[in-house]
Every structure is written in C-alpha cells, then in structure tokens.
C-alpha cells in the first residue's frame, strides 16, 4: 500500500515536473512564435483573403475568383510564369552542380586556402543587391561595358551588344547575376558536408578498388543528400522570388523579356495599387513553390531508397 502510494506520488510529481517543463518551453518559444504568427502566418492568411477581393486604393469588395480568372487570361502573367520557370530550371541545377564541384575541389585544400575561396565565393552573397547590380550594369553597358570590350577584343562579336536591352540576352544576363549571388552559400554548406563524410568508408572503398566516381556516387553522395536537398529547396525558392535584380536592372523589360512573377506582383500591388490581384498572384506563386519543393523532397527520398 505504501509502495503504491509512493509510486503514485512519484508519478504525479513527474507529471507536474513535465508540465512545468512544457510550460517553460512554450514560454521560451513564445517570442519567436508571436513573431512567426504576426509576420508570417497572419500576412499569409490576409494575402489569401485579399486574393478573393477587389482591393485597390479606393475600393474593397468581395470579388470571388475574378482575380484568378483574370490571371489565367493575362498574357503578361503567362510570360512572367515562363520566365520564372526558366530561371528556376536553369539556375537550380547549375547552382547545385557548380557548388558541389567547387566544394569538392576546395575541401581538399589546406584550411587557409579553403577559407580564402569560401570568402571569395561568399562575397557576392553578403554584398548588397544595389551594389551588385550597379557593377553588373557597368559590365553589361552597351557603350563602355567591359563585357563588350572583352568580346570585341577576342573577336567574339563585331559590334557592341545591348546585353540588357535585347530580349534574347536580357534574361540570361539576369540569370548570370543570379548564379553569382546564389553559389556562395551552397559552396560553404557543401564544404562542410564533404568534410563530415565518414572517411573510413571512403578509405574502405578505396581499398576495395572503387574509382573516384564510384566512391563519390556510392559513399559521399548519400551522406551529403540532406545538404543537397536543403540547397535544392532554398535555391528553388530564391530563384522563384528573384526580384531585386529585375527591379534595379530592367523593370521587367525589354518587352517583358525579364518579367518574373515576383516583379509582376510588385508592379500590380505598388504601381497600379491592385492589391487583390497582386495577392492572387502571390498565392499562385506560393502554391507553385510548394509543389516544386514537395517534388524535390519526394525525389530525394526516392534517391535515398
């Protein structure tokens, strides 16, 4: 009887202790949770609500699916969607492959050399967008840009190209700049991931006669898969949300050749004050990003077996 009472008392004490721990945990989380609810969840919900309204500076009324219907009939939205998907489909694989390649080279170097190259590749990431675009604008300048100068000197072109003003080259210029600002973080992550690969497995594979490619594919690649998945998802999201480069360099031109969904959302919301329509596009963009991310997770899990 005494033992039962004692055991029961201890159980109650444990439950109380656990409850106190839980409350303490929630209290610690509260500031971040409030921030998350107020600045992430609440705006998302409001965006969804506004997407069903005709919301401008002078009007706020329920519009049902009118914004979505308008969107799928909007030729500029279609063009923006295509441009955005091109940016994603080109930048994500290139970013991943290039980052992995660079990381696999520099991770084998001396620590100082590795750190030096990590800094070099990470610099564009920490440099402000405005500074980056100003420099690239000079590089791409039709009249005195260094790119034209180099290409003319090498005989690649016979007259100055209007890189940002030509619909056939403008989007690729944006892509180039996007790549330079995207590879920094993946390189740093891959260097870390490669350094954390179990070297005993690599040595064992080497002893068993595996080639470098086999070692990489069978040993290293599975171990860096979580990092790869993270990089894929983040790079995809960043590419979908490419905005600053467009705003500062081309304003979506020439002739909507560099129009992206993010820029078109900004244009409709801030320039035309069509908040409802902009919100609807934002929802569609979020759904597309979610779909892409889910696909990437599924493929990565399939890869892992």
């Amino acid at each position: 009887m005494q033992k039962t009472a004692l055991r029961s008392g201890m159980t109650v004490n444990m439950r109380q202790a656990r409850r106190r721990e839980n409350i303490a945990g929630y209290l610690f989380m509260a500031p971040s949770l409030l921030f998350f609810l107020g600045f992430v969840i609440f705006p998302m919900v409001m965006c969804l609500v506004y997407s069903f309204t005709s919301y401008t500076m002078t009007e706020f009324s329920f519009a049902g699916l009118a914004n979505y219907q308008r969107m799928f009939q909007d030729a500029i939205f279609g063009k923006a969607l295509i441009n955005t998907i091109i940016l994603v489909l080109v930048s994500v694989p290139i970013t991943c492959f290039f980052s992995l390649w660079v990381a696999s080279i520099i991770s084998k170097m001396a620590d100082r050399t590795t750190s030096f190259f990590r800094c070099v590749f990470y610099l564009p990431v920490v440099t402000g967008s405005v500074a980056v675009t100003v420099v690239w604008k000079w590089i791409f300048n039709r009249y005195y840009g260094v790119l034209n100068y180099l290409c003319m000197s090498l005989g690649l072109i016979n007259r100055n190209m209007n890189w940002l003003g030509d619909p056939s080259t403008a989007l690729w210029c944006i892509l180039t700049i996007l790549l330079t600002t995207s590879v920094g973080q993946p390189i740093v992550l891959y260097v870390s991931a490669l350094n954390n690969v179990d070297q005993s497995l690599v040595e064992a594979a080497s002893v068993d006669g595996a080639t470098n490619l086999q070692t990489f594919w069978r040993i290293k690649w599975p171990q860096i898969m979580p990092t790869t998945l993270y990089i894929l998802v983040i790079t995809t999201i960043n590419s979908f949300q490419c905005f600053a480069l467009i705003q500062l360099l081309t304003s979506g031109g020439p002739n909507h050749a560099t129009e992206t969904i993010m820029y078109y959302i900004y244009y409709n919301a801030f320039k035309l004050q069509n908040y409802g329509y902009g919100s609807a596009m934002g929802i569609i963009l979020a759904l597309i990003i979610a779909a892409f991310s889910a696909l990437q997770f599924k493929l990565a899990k399939t890869d892992n077996g």
Binding site: G165, G253, P254
Partner: protein
C-alpha cells in the same frame, strides 16, 4: 530591499509619461528630392526659419527618393501612417492620391490674391493643382519646363549650329534632322539615345515625340491619351526610321539617368532629359569636352510645347484637425512668407509659381539657373493629371521598346492606347 529597488526603477521608467504636457504640435513632412529639398541641411534651415515665427509647431522630415518613394507612400496609405505634408507634383498629389480621396481639400489656402499671382505666372499651374470639380489638392511652390540638351562643342565641330536658333534655344524638326546628318557625317556617333528601359525620365521621350509634328499627348480635357493621332504616329515612325538608319540610337536597357550620364561623359552629343536642376546636379561630372547648351525640343513649326514640372505641397487627410492646421501654417510660410518664399524656390533650383517673386536667382551663385527661364514661355499643357497615369507610364516605355524592336508603329500605338485608356 530588492523589491524596493525594482519598484524605484519602474517608477523612474514611468515618470517621463507624467511630464508636463507639451504644447507643441508635431507634423511630418515627406519630400522627394526636388533640388535641395532633398538635402537635410537645406530643409532644416527652412524649418529653423519657420520655428522662429512658429515655435509651437515641430516639423519632422522624411526624405524620399524616386526609386522607392512612391512605394513608401503607398505602404503608408494602406497602413494609415501617412505624413501630414508631402512635397511633389500634381500627377501624384492631384491625379493619384487626391483622386483616391486621401488628400485634404486645401482650397482655403487659395485666396484670390494667391490665385491671381499664380495664374499670372502660369495658368497651367493653377489648373493642374485642382481636380475636375475644382477642389485644390496642391499648393504649388515651383515649376520648370523639361528641355533637352546638346553638346555645343560637338555641334560646332560638326557644323550643326546653323540648324538651331542659338538666341531662342529652339529648332525645327527639319533643323534637328539636318543636325543629326551633320553629326553623323562628322563622326559624332551615337548622336543621341531614345532611352526606354523604364519610366525614369519619360517626360523627355514624351516631349520628343509630341513636338516633332506638334501632336498632343492627351485630349484637351485630359480624359484620354491621344498617341494614335496622325502627328504622333508620324513622329514615332520618324524616330524608328532614324534609329534604323543609324542616325539615332534607341536603348531599352537604359533610363534617363543613364542617358544623362552618357551625355555628361561625352558619349552622346544630345540628351533628351534635361532641366535646370539636372544642369546644377551634373555640373561636376561633365567631361572636359562637354559644353552644355540647353535646347527646346524640335518642332515642325519651330514653336515647341514643353512638358512642365510643377512641385508643391499636398496634405494627407489624417483626421487630425490640429495637425492639419499646423501643416497649412507651414505650407503657407514656405510658399508665401515675404522673407522665405524666394528662398524656398531658390532651394528647389526651379522657378517660382508666383509672378510676384520674379527672378529669384538674380545676383546669386545660381544665376545661370536663370538661363533656363527662357523656356518658360513654351510651357505646354500639364497633362500628367490624366487618369490611369501610372499604368500609362509603363505602357509608354513598353510601346517604345516594341516599336524599336521592329513592331508596326500604328499597331503598337493602338495597343498602347487600348491599355492606357482603360
């Protein structure tokens, strides 16, 4: 003891809340970079002068730029954190925010004497500051005409000065074409660039097109854009032909700021976006071989109609009568005080909207600004108050891009008008 200390600390923190009530009224001013009105030292000096007369009104200033200023104001409107006063022009104060019902009716500031003084300077200014119902949303301070600029040295070397009237700074369309030929023959290429990479400086390209064959940008009552007139289509076709012939450049990758830089570094002999303020702000960056000579836009009859720029103050309706009155007091001081008005205009680098102020630059170190007063008689219709203006601006540079990419002029203009006149 610890509890006592904690209570004492709390009391010290709460105490300021019970400070004696301040009898000052605080108002906020948001200003775009209109000459030195974008310089904190200048504006603080003006506020200091104001406070000598009205110490009971405090003015806080937020400096906007044209890249993000409109976005900041839009955000403030939706967040209901608009300033009391905003300094800009009728296209924003009257046609945009005023039309949206966000601005205060400031017709009470427009007494008969002020109205007469402003009309004497330019009737277009008075007309631009009110809406179709006659409600005034803007109290103007300064104005200018947007012009273009040539490199006098290049024109002289190419023998092209004969095609312009140096005394009046005007030229005909034929003279412009002859000048382009002369510059090309002398090897001064590129001559000029029709920039169309965005809306920045679009007043230049609009004026270039409408003046070539005396077209109009809108109809008389500012209810429709009329780029599809015969004159304007002819002008656009001319520009397209000039670009295809290599006598002029078109660049969808640059805006006016880039074009001005190209002119200042002597890459171009002609600039299509210029005014008195640009002359002052770019003086230090001129290449040695650039001699600035402002010109009106070429017109078929030699009589140009130049785009006007009008800047003044509008008041947001924040529902606070005390702040509204304080804001009106400030605006009246800046624009009408006999000791301050001229200085306020001087700070802008432009010209007074009140005839009584005369030449505010005479005898000052900005005397050369007075040179640009020669264009004021050519001030044309201020049409920037036409509806759907923001969307039109995007349609305009997209129109130019499509035309210079090879599009049929009439067809592309039809698309432009259909979208702009929605």
């Amino acid at each position: 003891m610890k509890k006592l200390l904690a209570l004492l600390l709390c009391a010290i923190m709460i105490l300021p809340a019970f400070a004696f009530a301040d009898e000052t009224t605080e108002i906020s001013l948001w200003t775009y970079p209109i000459g030195s009105w974008g310089d904190p030292d200048t504006v603080n000096g003006i506020i200091a002068k104001f406070n000598e007369v009205h110490p009971e009104i405090k003015v806080k200033v937020n400096y906007l730029d044209y890249a993000s200023g409109d976005d900041q104001v839009t955000t403030a409107i939706e967040a209901k954190t608009t300033p009391d006063i905003v300094m800009e022009g009728p296209e924003r104060l009257v046609a945009n925010w005023g039309a949206a019902g966000k601005m205060l009716d400031i017709s009470d500031l427009w007494d008969d004497a002020v109205k007469a003084d402003i009309i004497a300077a330019s009737p277009a200014v008075e007309a631009a500051c009110k809406n179709a119902e006659g409600i005034y949303y803007e109290y103007p301070l300064c104005m200018t005409t947007h012009c273009m600029v040539i490199n006098y040295n290049d024109f002289e070397a190419a023998g092209a000065l004969q095609y312009l009237d140096e005394a009046t700074h005007t030229w005909t369309t034929e003279g412009f074409l002859n000048a382009l030929d002369a510059l090309e023959a002398a090897g001064y290429l590129p001559t000029g660039v029709v920039y169309c990479g965005g809306q920045g400086g679009d007043q230049g390209t609009r004026a270039l097109v409408t003046n070539l064959y005396s077209g109009q940008f809108t109809n008389a009552d500012h209810t429709a854009y009329t780029m599809d007139s015969e004159e304007n289509i002819k002008a656009l076709q001319l520009l397209k032909d000039l670009v295809e012939a290599g006598k002029l450049d078109a660049d969808p990758g640059i805006v006016a700021g880039d074009e001005i830089a190209l002119f200042c570094n002597s890459t171009l002999s002609i600039g299509f976006c210029w005014n008195a303020s640009a002359a002052v702000s770019n003086k230090a960056s001129l290449a040695d071989d650039v001699k600035v000579f402002p010109m009106a836009f070429p017109s078929d009859d030699g009589v140009p109609e130049l785009q006007g720029g009008i800047w003044g103050f509008g008041l947001f309706d924040n529902g606070d009568e005390a702040r509204a009155q304080a804001a009106k007091t400030f605006v009246k001081f800046v624009c009408d005080d006999e000791n301050q008005a001229a200085a306020s205009v001087y700070a802008s680098g432009f010209f007074p909207t009140r005839a009584s102020l005369g030449d505010v630059y005479a005898g000052t170190d900005k005397a050369e600004n007075g040179e640009y007063a020669i264009f004021m008689p050519f001030l044309g219709d201020y049409y920037q108050v036409t509806g759907n203006w923001a969307a039109q601006r995007t349609e305009w540079w997209n129109l130019l891009q499509r035309i210079f990419a090879g599009g049929d002029v009439a067809a592309e203009v039809a698309t432009y008008c259909a979208n702009a006149n929605k």
